[in-house]
Symmetry: C2
Subunit: 340 residues, 2 copies
């Protein structure tokens, strides 16, 4: 009988936390004891795992005493506080927040892309930003084949990336505007009206005029691909979609690669699926990716504006692939490699 | 007393046609006789101009006999048929369809950008695609100052660009999904579900994997800026917005230009307005541009991924700036230059 592990989910009541619990269940992850945790604010709520109802407990340093794997998604501050406490108690933390991602001592991992980085772990592993995770999956086989010199990215990111309150806000605004097109909309979670609108701001601005979200995509992509020389620029935009991020990615490769060769590489890369037959009206849209593991790639074409260029359109479930699934895949890979 | 002109609007019942009539009225265009025209399908409907109701007449070649200026927006086929008939009868055609845009004998004009092209007209002047018009306005002062080598464009285009049926479709789908999140959506005008989704296809595909819309942006931008050497790539995406196109534009200039210099240039360029103060949460979104003449530019920043790069976000009312206003501005410029 395979070994089983004591697993806790910190942030169990959030969108990503709930998706983590669902993924653990769906993948039959070898869970022995299961412990859902949250901050004081939402502790006491109920969650269901393998047909059993659990009361979510408030996290304390002692919560991690008997745990072996901790999936964290309760915000950067809570990770900053509890991840070292968990690691000290031999509970390996797979952290979905941004807090440790750029820490040189913490591996930042998409298991299909840079599993080798897991070997260097010191108790904490970081899960990348959702928009980064799906993009590096589609880039990795191209990077390995011909190298990547530069990326120009524009994103179409769903409201779930900003939490369940942001989805609710989108639906509320939409209802109000359908009832009265002149309804006064006061934004609360998303920076501007998101219903029937698009908002070119995700997270706050930094000094160079980029947003934190844009800088995450730039810095995390370099760290995951292990190449600080890739030149990257990004514009991250919130769109009125519930779940599923889309990305328009313009790639300058180091050596020439044909569209056919790109298709062949992507076709065999794990958890990437090509949806790309313009003549049949086939390309992925956000609603196509909801609840599935695969990252969908379409609109693959030779960039007519530069010598070694490829254009592509990458779509993935940001809660699942970009967060919950990635965390569980990391845990599975660590078990496989006897790192737990 | 200034001279007045007999003006007809062909396609008077469509979204752009109605906006043309509104713009003629709002700008006090010197109209003597006014004649609203349409195809057989919608002739007979009523429109109002300067507080007077008109019955829209079915267009025939003879409709243009006494007309001096014809604003056309009834589809490429109707323009192909009637524009030469009108021109033959000394009615100058300002055509909003794609039919004549790339004809080397037909000037393609954004009046603030290349008014000199009007002088070569032979009776027909083409109005550019809406997404091209707003972009070249923001690019022109940069082009003149330091030259442009390459553009990487991703668009966020509203449903009104595909006609009033597409807006109605968006609202219908939205209502259906709010009532029942599992409602079966059958797309009709837009290629895929547009409510709570984004669709990376505008117009049909051509052989190189780009869409016609993308190729229009590429070819028309070169023609208007008069520079076939600018390298351009574009990904055009439909978003669930009613009116207002947004564009994420990455610019490689020939010579280095600072963000401050770009701001100064744009600040004095006609019909361009800078809305760009990240520290105050200021940047334009589609709902901000509806019904106004100005093209709004924000998120102006130095592109950290290349030596001479600028990133910007361009937002404009596609019906007004991208179509109706541009056509009327062309007519005004021709009057000013005694070309009518």
């Amino acid at each position: 009988m395979p070994k089983k592990y004591n697993v806790c989910v910190l942030g169990a009541t959030g969108m990503v936390g709930r998706e983590m619990i669902k993924v653990l269940e769906q993948r039959n992850f070898p869970v022995d004891k299961f412990l859902p945790l949250a901050s004081e604010r939402t502790a006491g709520q109920k969650v269901t795992f393998q047909n059993k109802e659990y009361t979510v407990k408030e996290a304390t340093s002692e919560s991690f005493e008997e745990m072996q794997i901790g999936l964290f998604s309760a915000g950067a501050k809570i990770s900053a506080k509890f991840a070292p406490e968990a690691a000290k108690r031999k509970c390996i933390v797979i952290d979905n927040t941004s807090h440790f991602r750029m820490d040189p001592k913490v591996p930042l991992v998409v298991p299909e892309v840079n599993p080798e980085a897991l070997k260097t772990h010191k108790g904490i592993i970081a899960n990348p930003n959702c928009s980064t995770a799906q993009m590096v999956l589609a880039l990795k086989p191209i990077y390995d084949a011909v190298g990547i010199e530069r990326l120009v990215i524009s994103t179409y990111q769903s409201t779930s990336g900003w939490g369940k309150e942001a989805i609710a806000e989108m639906y509320e605004q939409t209802k109000a505007l359908l009832e009265n097109p002149k309804a006064k909309i006061v934004p609360k979670y998303i920076f501007k009206q998101i219903a029937f609108n698009v908002v070119p701001q995700i997270d706050s601005f930094v000094d160079n005029g980029y947003t934190k979200e844009e800088m995450k995509m730039i810095n995390e992509t370099r760290k995951i691909l292990g190449d600080e020389d890739i030149q990257i620029t990004a514009t991250c935009v919130r769109v009125p979609v519930a779940i599923g991020h889309a990305e328009s990615v313009n790639i300058k490769t180091k050596k020439k690669i044909s569209v056919e060769a790109v298709r062949k590489l992507l076709a065999t890369f794990p958890t990437v699926k090509i949806v790309d037959d313009p003549s049949m009206g086939e390309y992925p849209t956000p609603i196509d990716c909801v609840g599935i593991d695969d990252t969908l790639v379409g609109r693959i074409r030779e960039d007519i504006s530069q010598k070694n260029g490829i254009e592509m359109w990458i779509v993935s479930d940001n809660l699942r692939r970009g967060a919950a699934l990635n965390a569980v895949l990391i845990a599975e890979k660590m078990i496989e490699d006897s790192l737990v």
